[in-house]
């Protein structure tokens, strides 16, 4: 469940007491079996237990598969009781409920429930109104899911599943601003696959695509958690390493170069040996004044690595003399 979904549920939990008279409102989310309960602080444990069991029963019945009640991850948000907590018996249990499935694109993704310690607490009007709310929650969840998938398409490269160039530009902008403002170090690494055109020409594009995916996974597994790996275009990749000085960046780059050199890549019947050239730029060492300049410096370093014979790591040392 992402943050947006939780926000929608929280908003419902806060506003529903203005519309209905109930003791607890629950949202059981199928994925991860998370049950959010918004309930009065005086509600005793037997009531809560019964609500959990009931919601699991409803979701099992609707989904057609049994759900283990012990697997439910219960998160309770307490709100002030309308009644004096002293008047509520510790034996109070669930007496009536309204439970409705949450469906997104024809699939049941969870259920919502209004629960009461009073018998027959809900009538036809409550059900009608609650179903409208359920529909609205489902529709909003649907929008969230769509937005999230559009966002994924917008920032990921479809072939390698790495971040795409658009995301890289945005991320670099944010990291550069942070570094330029605070003076913290920031490194950029440009990685280019040597003689990749030959792979495509000799073995065909499907093999070339496989090689790119393999390289992408090697890169992803070679960096730290906060680093960004993106496909810059074609066989060129770019890495943002916030907080990494030149020494750390050079060590990571050398590790990547060696790893690629040692890795046999699939090329139909054959095993391919490939290499990469890597260019590095760093702030503040190279005194870049903008993110564009940091990219340009890494590009110049990459050019030098290619010119120097490929399969090597070069750090920016200055612009070529015209």
């Amino acid at each position: 469940m992402n943050f947006d979904t939780k926000g929608i549920i929280e908003s419902a939990g806060i506003n529903l007491p203005n519309l209905f008279n109930f003791s607890s409102f629950g949202v059981l989310w199928k994925e991860g079996l998370v049950l959010y309960l918004y309930q009065e602080e005086s509600i005793p444990p037997p009531f809560t237990k019964k609500v959990v069991e009931n919601m699991v029963k409803v979701l099992s019945t609707l989904g057609g598969e049994p759900i283990d009640v012990n697997q439910v991850n219960l998160q309770i948000e307490k709100r002030q009781s309308k009644l004096d907590p002293m008047t509520i018996s510790p034996q109070t249990t669930l007496k009536s409920h309204l439970t409705l499935p949450l469906a997104v694109e024809g699939e049941i993704v969870g259920c919502i429930s209004l629960n009461s310690d009073q018998p027959n607490a809900f009538d036809v009007q409550d059900l009608q109104f609650f179903s409208v709310i359920g529909y609205q929650i489902s529709a909003t969840l649907k929008h969230c899911q769509r937005f999230s998938s559009i966002k994924t398409i917008a920032i990921y490269d479809t072939l390698t599943n790495l971040h795409n160039r658009r995301y890289f530009e945005e991320r670099l902008g944010a990291e550069a601003q942070k570094s330029f403002f605070s003076g913290t170090t920031l490194s950029l690494m440009m990685v280019d696959l040597d003689h990749f055109k030959k792979v495509n020409d000799t073995f065909g594009h499907p093999v070339g695509d496989k090689v790119l995916c393999h390289i992408a996974s090697l890169l992803k597994n070679s960096v730290r958690r906060d680093d960004t790996v993106a496909r810059y275009g074609g066989e060129e990749f770019v890495l943002i390493l916030p907080g990494a000085n030149l020494e750390v960046t050079s060590r990571i780059a050398e590790r990547i170069r060696e790893l690629v050199e040692r890795t046999p890549f699939e090329g139909g019947q054959n095993r391919l040996n490939l290499t990469v050239s890597i260019g590095i730029s760093n702030f503040p060492t190279h005194r870049a004044r903008s993110k564009e300049e940091l990219v340009k410096m890494a590009d110049v370093a990459l050019y030098n690595a290619k010119k120097g014979g490929r399969n090597r790591v070069c750090v920016f040392t200055g612009y070529p003399v015209e």
Binding site: L62, G106, G134, Y135
Partner: protein
Amino acid sequence: MASPVKESKEGRLSSDLVFDLYLNLLTEIWEIASALIGEAILALLFLSAIQKNGEKHPFLLSLKVSEEGIGLDKEKEEGKRLSPEEIHKAFQGVINHLTHLFSTLSEGVINKELFPKVFPRIKEAERIISSR
């Protein structure tokens, strides 16, 4: 005693009657329940009930459910060729499952609205069958 041909015609007539009676009843249930819980949820419940009973009575799978309502695929009216008893049993299974689901969701709230409509129709179906 009626001739086999006549018996078959009478049987055919009863099957048609029972089938149409239940189809109308399902439409009526749809109208009442959709006003309470909305078409999207109701379509899921109907599909669940039909699929569950469709394993035993495959003709039920020719019932088409969407958010617009419930209908019968005209090319697949094989259900009408079955005996009225089997049609009665199959539809009763669907209605039982639906009422079970309604009760699971809202205890008596939905069923209280439905039962006054459903019971007389089931009695009528039983009367048609017993008068054969």
